[in-house]
């Protein structure tokens, strides 16, 4: 569609109410820094901003300022995960393998570790670290288009009874795809392996869902990380 045809929908897009095909068209124009649509959207954003400036004013709690500022302060543990993660993964895998080798208590563990190592060793695997600054939970996700997903998380939220974590693969277009359920360890960590092809993954998310999982997310993802 031409910029002129899209012009009437700039404000709708800015408000997030535009429907397709206009929504997709404007997004495409923005993505290529269209000289007409970028300023057009800027003016529409001014409209939305003005609406925001006119809402009923509510005084936030005093502790919120401290909380916001605390969140940007370097945290003592922040450096450690990214810096030592490759080593930590290797060590964790080795310990797990050793444990399984010594005890042989669960045949499925060996299979899962093999799947995890297969994903980690795939040259096509993409990985992304999450939660370094803006979320309490932190960790890393490895995604192999052919082999699957390895999720490693720490500082995960405590699950209430009858709840489970659910991993989602979010495609570039379309609804989130369920990618498995998992629980955390008592120390709030989790290593989850979901073998199998992963198609068109644009992001990975984790939500808290009722036991048994949900076909679509029912809560806000506490982890959502773009690939």
């Amino acid at each position: 569609m031409t910029c002129e045809e899209l012009r009437e929908d700039y404000t709708s897009y800015a408000l997030g109410i535009a429907g397709d095909p206009e929504r997709a068209e404007i997004a495409a124009h923005l993505a290529r820094q269209c000289p007409n649509c970028v300023p057009g959207l800027a003016s529409a954003m001014a409209t939305v901003t003005a609406m925001s400036g006119a809402v009923k004013v509510v005084q936030p709690p005093r502790h919120l300022r401290r909380r916001v500022l605390a969140a940007i302060e370097p945290r003592p543990t922040r450096w450690s995960l990214g810096a030592v993660l490759p080593w930590a993964i290797t060590a964790a895998m080795s310990i797990a393998l050793l444990s399984i080798g010594l005890s042989g208590r669960r045949a499925g563990d060996t299979a899962r570790l093999e799947q995890a190592l297969s994903i980690l060793n795939d040259p096509a695997t993409r990985d992304v670290t999450f939660g370094e600054t803006d979320r309490p939970s932190k960790g890393r996700v490895f995604v192999s288009p052919d082999k699957g997903v390895v999720f490693i998380g720490a500082s995960l939220p405590r699950l209430d009874s009858g709840k489970t974590f659910e991993l989602w693969v979010i495609p570039a277009k379309g609804n989130p795809v369920p990618a498995g359920l998992f629980q955390s360890e008592p120390d709030a960590t989790a290593v989850f392996v979901r073998p199998g092809p992963v198609e068109n993954a644009a992001a990975i998310a984790v939500t808290v869902e009722p036991a048994g999982g949900s076909p679509q997310p029912t809560t806000t993802p506490f982890i959502i990380t773009k690939l």
């Binding site: 009437e8 404000t11 709708s12 897009y13 800015a14 408000l15 997030g16 109410i17 429907g19 929504r23 997004a27 993505a31 820094q33 970028v38 300023p39 959207l41 800027a42 003016s43 529409a44 954003m45 001014a46 409209t47 939305v48 901003t49 003005a50 609406m51 925001s52 400036g53 006119a54 809402v55 009923k56 004013v57 509510v58 936030p60 709690p61 919120l64 300022r65 909380r67 916001v68 500022l69 969140a71 940007i72 803006d134 989602w168 979010i170 495609p171 570039a172 277009k173 609804n175 989130p176 644009a202 992001a203 998310a205 939500t207 679509q216 997310p217 029912t218 806000t220 993802p221 959502i224």
Partner: protein, 231 residues
């Protein structure tokens, strides 16, 4: 809607490039939405230079500047988010996310040309709408498009007095003339981020009718504003 009886933020001054007349008109239109947003904003004047200074210091990772940013926009960001999610604890979470997002993305912001407050408020609203959409399993749109609507390039040369008190009065008067249905669709758009299709389902009205209300509402506001500016 209740009346606003305290200042939302300090007023935002700055240059008003003529090329942004269209933006000004649309902005003023919506800001006058006295029925939807009947708030009385009591602006406390602060200079655009102050925002520019804050932005530059944020780019140097000055944490004190972050405190100043919060002092300037924390209340309005919290108010916007709370108005949308209607949950105080959740609003706190989303305010934190908002400011962290500014902190993490400030390097893409142009301090001399960008409008810091409007950018932050766009992020704040998007975080809240993002939450609502995740509840209704519309996460795909969240993940892929909210970022596009809060890119700093969309806030370059924006009029910084977009939150000016006088503008609010003009627009409040204009929006008072909207019909109930026109007002309703604008509320559903702003506070819930519903698409026009979703509005039609919610209201039990044909999509074409809803689109007509949305377009006529915006057209009416533009016309009202145009007269006000011309006067």
């Amino acid at each position: 809607m209740q009346m606003v009886d305290s200042p939302a933020i300090g007023g935002i001054n700055g240059t008003s490039p003529g090329v942004w007349r269209y933006a000004r008109q649309r902005t003023l239109c919506m800001f006058a939405s006295g029925i939807i947003f009947p708030g009385l904003l009591l602006a406390v004047e602060m200079s655009g230079k102050h925002d520019e200074d804050i932005a530059r210091r944020l780019q140097r990772r000055d944490t004190i500047a972050m405190g100043e940013l919060y002092d300037r926009f924390g209340r309005i960001a919290y108010s916007v988010i709370l108005a949308i999610v209607r949950d105080a604890a959740l609003a706190e979470d989303l305010v934190q996310e908002t400011f962290l997002r500014v902190w993490n993305r400030i390097q893409a912001f142009e301090p001399g040309r960008g409008a810091l407050g409007p950018w932050l408020l766009a992020i704040a609203r998007n975080r809240a709408i993002d939450h609502l959409r995740s509840l209704s399993a519309r996460m795909d749109r969240n993940a892929c498009e909210l970022d596009a609507r809060e890119h700093p390039s969309l806030f370059v040369d924006m009029e910084r007095e977009v939150l000016n008190t006088d503008h609010a009065r003009v627009i409040r008067s204009a929006i008072a003339k909207l019909s109930d249905n026109q007002r309703k669709v604008i509320e559903l758009a702003y506070y819930e981020g519903l698409s026009q299709t979703e509005m039609a389902e919610r209201m039990g009205e044909p999509l074409g009718t809803v689109k007509t209300w949305v377009r006529s509402a915006l057209r009416h506001l533009r016309e009202e504003l145009g007269q006000a500016v011309a006067a």
